[in-house]
C-alpha cells in the first residue's frame, strides 16, 4: 500500500476499499469516512470501550487502532452484529432486560458481550463482570447489563 494508498478490508462481511492516510485512526475511518456511526467515540483514549469493534473476531478498541493495520483483515462493527432483519440475541436481551438508558455505551457492550458468548457460551456472573470491565456505562449501574448478557447466554446467543 502506498503512503496515501487504499485500504482493503472486509467490513461486516463485505469487501471495502477506502483511501487511508497512515495516521488515520480506525474509529475515524469507520465513522467519518464510511459513515458507520453505530461505533461511538467516547473518551477517545481507550478507557471507555464505546468504540469496540471486532478485528478478526478479537474485541478491539478502534480509537487506539491505526486503520492501516486493519488492511487485509476482517472488521465487524455493531452494524455487522445486527442481522439484516431484527436484532441479534444479545441486542434483544439488552432491550428486554432494560439494559439501555441513554444508549451511548450500548454498541460497545454488545460487541464485547457477543465476543464473550462466542468464546464462553456459559459464563459465570464473575466472568461477565470481568469481560465488560473495559466498557463504561454512566447510566445503568451495570446490573441490568450483566443480567442481559446472562439472559442472552441462557437463551443460547
Amino acid at each position: 500500500m502506498s503512503e496515501a494508498g487504499l485500504l482493503r478490508m472486509r467490513l461486516n462481511g463485505h469487501p471495502v476499499v477506502a483511501p487511508c492516510e497512515p495516521a488515520r485512526i480506525l474509529l475515524d475511518l469507520l465513522r467519518d469516512d464510511l459513515h458507520l456511526t453505530g461505533t461511538k467515540r467516547g473518551c477517545d483514549l481507550g478507557t471507555c470501550g464505546c468504540c469496540t469493534v471486532l478485528v478478526d473476531g478479537r474485541p478491539t478498541l478502534s480509537c487506539l487502532t491505526l486503520a492501516r493495520l486493519a488492511d487485509g483483515h476482517d472488521v465487524t462493527t455493531i452494524e455487522g452484529i445486527s442481522p439484516p432483519q431484527g436484532l441479534s440475541p444479545v441486542q434483544r436481551a439488552f432491550v428486554e432486560s432494560g439494559a439501555t438508558q441513554c444508549g451511548f455505551c450500548t454498541p460497545g457492550f454488545i460487541v464485547t458481550a457477543t465476543a464473550l458468548l462466542r468464546d464462553h457460551p456459559h459464563p459465570s456472573r464473575a466472568e461477565i463482570e470481568r469481560a465488560i470491565a473495559g466498557n463504561l456505562c454512566r447510566c445503568t449501574g451495570y446490573t441490568k447489563i450483566v443480567e442481559a448478557i446472562a439472559t442472552a447466554a441462557k437463551d443460547g446467543a
Binding site: 503512503e3 492516510e21 497512515p22 495516521a23 488515520r24 485512526i25 475515524d28 477517545d44 483514549l45 481507550g46 478507557t47 470501550g49 469496540t52 478479537r58 474485541p59 478491539t60 478498541l61 487506539l64 487502532t65 491505526l66 492501516r68 493495520l69 464485547t112 470481568r130 469481560a131 470491565a133 473495559g134 466498557n135
Partner: protein
C-alpha cells in the same frame, strides 16, 4: 482527536526492523499494541515523524517453554491456564493490566517498555501549555520536584516486577546481533523518567525468557490503584519463592509503580533463604523495602500513603505467596 501525520513502516522480520530502526536514527517510535503510545500521540506527547509497526514481525509473537514474544498480546497470556499454573505471579500481573479490551491489544514488550507516567506529563497539550511545559515534553523544568535536571515520572508497567521476581532475561536484537541480559539491566537505574532504559538506538526487544528454575514458583503480584478495573499502578509488588515447610528455599521481590524504574531487592531477600520467615523478619523486610523506595507527588494518591502501602503490600504479597505454597 486526530493524529498528526507520520510515516508508517511495516517490517516483517527482526533483521528488517533493526535495519530500518538504524536508518531512522532515533526519529521513530516502535508501535506495539498502541494502547499507550497512541493516547500519548493524541495528546501531542513527544511525537516522532516515523512509526515502525511491529504487527507483522512474526518472530515477536507466541509464548511457551519459558519464552514470551515481545509482541505477544496480554490477552493470550490471560487466557492460558498454563500461565496461572506455572507462573502465578505473572498471571496475577497480566490480569491486573488495565482492562480486557486493553489487554486484547496490549503486548508483553509494550508493557515492559511502557512510557513513564506523571500527573504533569499525561495531560493534553492545552493543559500542559497553560501550566508551562515540563522536562519530559516540550519544557525545561520539573513541576514535581522543582529543578531542571531530573525527571521523576514513574515506571507504570505491571509485568516487569513479576518477571523480575521470576529472574527473567530479555533478548534484544541490534546491529551487532542478538544478546541477552537480565530484565533489570534493561532499565537504567542511574537514569530518570526520561533516560529510563538501556536500549541503544536501533535495538529491538525480541522476547522475554523465564528460566526453567522459576517454573512453579509460588508468587503474588499486588497492585495499588484507584480504579481496580483500569488504572496504571500506583504501586506494584511482585513476590516469587519456594518454601520447604516453614523454611524459605528461595525468595525474590520486585517493586514497580513507585520510581522511574522497577527495582529488584535481592540484597534483602537472599539473607532470608534457608531459615523460617518469622513475622518479625517479614515486617523488617517490608519496612526496609519501604525505606528504600521514594514515591513523589506525581500520581493521584499522595506519596506518604503510597510509601506506607509499600510495607503493607510487601507483607501481604509474601504472606499470600507463602500460604499458596502451603496449600
Amino acid at each position: 482527536m486526530h493524529l498528526d501525520p507520520f510515516a508508517l513502516h511495516r517490517p516483517t522480520s527482526v533483521d528488517e526492523t533493526v535495519r530500518l530502526a538504524g536508518s531512522l536514527a532515533g526519529r521513530f517510535d516502535y508501535l506495539a499494541g498502541g494502547t499507550d503510545l497512541l493516547p500519548n500521540y493524541k495528546m501531542h506527547l513527544n511525537l516522532r515523524p516515523n512509526l515502525i509497526a511491529l504487527e507483522d514481525v512474526g518472530e515477536l509473537r507466541g509464548h511457551g517453554a519459558g519464552r514470551f514474544g515481545a509482541m505477544e498480546r496480554l490477552a493470550e497470556l490471560d487466557d492460558d491456564p498454563a500461565i496461572r499454573a506455572e507462573y502465578p505471579v505473572l498471571a496475577d500481573a497480566v490480569g491486573e493490566v488495565a482492562t480486557p479490551l486493553v489487554r486484547a491489544s496490549g503486548t508483553v514488550g509494550g508493557n515492559l517498555l511502557v512510557e513513564t507516567r506523571c500527573f504533569f506529563f499525561n495531560q493534553s497539550y492545552f493543559w500542559r501549555e497553560s501550566l508551562g511545559f515540563c522536562l519530559k515534553a516540550d519544557g525545561d523544568r520539573c513541576h514535581v520536584v522543582p529543578q531542571k535536571e531530573k525527571c521523576y515520572a514513574t515506571f507504570s508497567g505491571d509485568l516487569a516486577p513479576a518477571l523480575m521476581a521470576l529472574d527473567a532475561e530479555v533478548e534484544v536484537a541490534g546491529p551487532a546481533g542478538r544478546s541477552r541480559r537480565p530484565l533489570e539491566a534493561l532499565y537504567d537505574a542511574a537514569g530518570d523518567g526520561i533516560r529510563r532504559v538501556h536500549l541503544a538506538p536501533g535495538e529491538l526487544l525480541v522476547a522475554v525468557h523465564v528460566p526453567a528454575a522459576s517454573r512453579g514458583l509460588h508468587g503474588r503480584y499486588k497492585k495499588l490503584r484507584v480504579r481496580p478495573s483500569y488504572d496504571f499502578p500506583e504501586l506494584g509488588v511482585a513476590v516469587a519463592g519456594r518454601w520447604d515447610g516453614d523454611r524459605v528455599a528461595s525468595l525474590r521481590l520486585a517493586v514497580g509503580g513507585v520510581e522511574p524504574h522497577p527495582r529488584r531487592f535481592d540484597a534483602l531477600t537472599e539473607p532470608l533463604v534457608g531459615s523460617a520467615l518469622s513475622d518479625d523478619r517479614l515486617r523488617a523486610l517490608a519496612d526496609e523495602v519501604m525505606r528504600q523506595l521514594r514515591p513523589v507527588h506525581n500520581t493521584f494518591l499522595l506519596p506518604d500513603y503510597r510509601k506506607r502501602m509499600i510495607g503493607v503490600y510487601v507483607r501481604r504479597a509474601v504472606d499470600e505467596a507463602r500460604r499458596g505454597s502451603a496449600s
